[in-house]
């Protein structure tokens, strides 16, 4: 059995290698083409010929015990900068422009770690709950799974996505790729806190991760009771190590850093910790030298993913504009699109489901007339808040602000169809 599986995998690999040069999958799959669009029209697999993969049986059942994407999609991978000073405290981005819908595949979910990815044996992992509680408790991972559970779809976004200074980036992933969205399964934090019984002075919960940074963030008790989750699964399977296996927090709509991974400890307190991560980092320095602290929410934001930076329109005519919108403060209520450099705006169609604190997919049918232009989207959430322009943000916050940049990102389309980031012009 094992042998036959191995054999067929080898066959499949040979078959794949025999095809020679492999072209980036995203470029081909996209209606908006990349430079690899010219498929050899003399291919024996095109009409009127019958393709070779219809003339022999394919790989048998069990060829892959855990499925992976087609080899032709090998270029759809995390976007990790090549020139980082170090890779232990670093981040890797989701290739947003290569994905569809609102759910990020687990293998492409963005990552941010502060001291690498710990290899945690779940049997030896514990969650301690102590401080201003009636009964300090210790839970195993199985204990947490015994609580009544729930599944919720929410986005997660790094607080600095991107900064306020040029260059912002060439692709949508370069710009806002520290953003992903998944269905999370876990337990309401409220139930776990109630299990220990909170004392009246309890106002904050300090969450700590079991990584080598022992990362700590303080969460207001109101959020713990509103919608915070202690999560064990992501998109139906157990969390990946990069996402906090075996337990993590999800605080819908709050900046990514607070959604503590590898969760090992909840310390109930009267005051926040003022930990390094919530004072020296993740505070917003204003032009006058003051700094905003405990700025938790990720505000309404959107970006067009197709067409977007690094892609090319190779022909005039129909081209659906599509992208994603999200808000930490609730549901997206409207997305406007301009195809004339911001002069006029029209409403895009929001695709169901439209969920609170989740990505919402928008679409707009469009015909490109072949002339240079700039396209951009702006999100409006259910609080009435309108996604601002970069200039509007910088006017208030200055360029050193760093975090919480939710600006509109304009894409320039040149006469030859090349798409680039107009903000970097």
């Amino acid at each position: 059995m094992t042998d036959s599986v191995d054999d067929s995998t080898a066959t499949s690999r040979r078959r794949f290698l025999r095809k020679g040069a492999v072209i980036g999958g995203a470029a081909i799959a996209s209606g908006i083409v990349g430079n690899a669009s010219a498929i050899d029209s003399s291919s024996k697999n095109l009409p009127p010929n019958v393709p070779e993969w219809m003339k022999v049986p394919g790989d048998p059942m069990g060829s892959q015990l855990y499925g992976t994407p087609s080899p032709f999609e090998k270029n759809v991978v995390k976007n990790i900068p090549k020139d980082l000073p170090q890779y232990l405290s670093a981040s890797g981005r989701t290739p947003l422009q290569d994905l569809d819908g609102i759910i990020t595949p687990n293998g492409l979910f963005y990552e941010r770690h502060h001291a690498g990815v710990p290899a945690i044996d779940p049997a030896q992992h514990r969650l301690m709950l102590h401080g201003l509680v009636e009964r300090p408790l210790i839970f195993t991972v199985d204990d947490i799974r015994r609580f009544p559970s729930t599944s919720q779809i929410h986005f997660l976004e790094c607080s600095a996505n991107p900064g306020y200074k040029k260059p912002y980036g060439k692709t949508a992933s370069d710009l806002v790729g520290l953003l992903s969205c998944a269905e999370w399964t876990g337990v309401s934090m409220k139930l776990v806190l109630q299990e220990a019984g909170l004392r009246p002075e309890a106002k904050w919960v300090i969450a700590e991760g079991a990584d080598a940074a022992a990362l700590t963030r303080s969460i207001p008790i109101e959020k713990c009771f509103e919608d915070a989750l202690i999560v064990y699964s992501q998109n139906g399977e157990r969390l990946r190590p990069q996402q906090g296996y075996p337990l993590r927090l999800i605080l819908p709509g709050f900046e990514g850093n607070m959604n503590v991974k590898w969760l090992r400890r909840l310390h109930v307190t009267a005051e926040p910790a003022y930990s390094r991560e919530e004072t020296s980092k993740y505070t917003d320095l204003m032009p006058d030298g003051t700094a905003r602290e405990f700025s938790f929410y990720m505000e309404a934001k959107s970006i067009i993913l197709r067409p977007s930076g690094g892609q090319r329109l190779d022909t005039k005519g129909f081209c659906e504009i599509t992208g994603i919108a999200w808000s930490g403060r609730g549901k997206i209520s409207r997305v406007d699109i301009s195809v004339d450099n911001g002069k006029n705006w029209q409403e895009a169609r929001l695709q169901e489901p439209i969920l609170t604190r989740a990505l919402t997919r928008f679409r707009l049918p469009w015909r490109w007339n072949g002339e240079p232009t700039v396209i951009q989207s702006r999100a409006i959430d259910e609080t009435g808040y309108v996604q601002p322009t970069l200039a509007e943000l910088i006017a208030v916050r200055g360029e050193a602000f760093y975090y919480h940049n939710n600006a509109i990102w304009p894409w320039r389309i040149s006469a030859d169809g090349e798409v680039s980031n107009a903000a970097d012009d």
């Binding site: 910790a273 204003m286 705006w345 601002p388």
Partner: protein, 188 residues
């Protein structure tokens, strides 16, 4: 929907039962076990900004220089000027300029959090490996490099808790939404 309501009602009943008995030994679901004082003491390394939780022991600027050279300089630079790791020194007076430099000396609001962070996360290749004395000492040296402590100073729980960082009072609340896009629709 009906089932949900029923489940919620049962959960509520559980909770009110539990709170009725104020010294209940067990929570509404009876899940988890009691954490002992020893277990909590082993894991709780949180230090409050007022210094609560700082351990006994002390460390001098002089000893801190040795610790820094051995454990920190490779990433943070021999004088804390930064490298692979963050810049730790300087920047005072730059925060309100167009090129602010955020360091321990210019930006961090609380000295005890320096102890908390170094102990839990540094050095990056071996966190929680320094003795309390070493952590006090290297904290003292970093403050000294920033011109905030004299070269003959010694830090302990009391002096660290009492230490006032220069940027202490510059943190404010979150005033967002702070930007208003008028959402112009035509002929903008």
């Amino acid at each position: 929907m009906l089932r949900m309501t029923k489940a919620a009602a049962i959960a509520l009943a559980f909770i009110s039962l539990a709170s009725a008995a104020s010294a209940a030994q067990q929570g509404p679901y009876g899940i988890g076990r009691t954490a002992t004082a020893t277990e909590i003491a082993g894991w709780n390394i949180d230090i409050r900004p007022d210094g609560h939780g700082l351990p006994s022991g002390s460390g001098s600027v002089t000893h801190g220089r040795e610790v820094f050279e051995q454990q920190c300089a490779a990433c943070h630079g021999d004088k804390g000027q930064g490298g692979v790791g963050d810049r730790l020194v300087g920047g005072q007076g730059t925060l309100a300029t167009s090129n602010p430099v955020k360091t321990v000396g210019s930006y961090w609001p609380y000295a005890p959090i320096l102890f908390d962070y170094i102990r839990r996360a540094m050095p990056q290749n071996a966190p929680e490996s320094l003795s309390n004395e070493d952590v006090y000492a290297v904290s003292a040296y970093i403050l000294n490099l920033n011109g905030l402590l004299p070269a003959d100073a010694v830090l302990d729980a009391k002096t660290m808790a009492a230490f006032k960082m220069p940027n202490r009072n510059m943190f404010i609340g979150d005033s967002r939404p702070d930007v208003k896009n008028p959402a112009c629709e035509s002929n903008c």
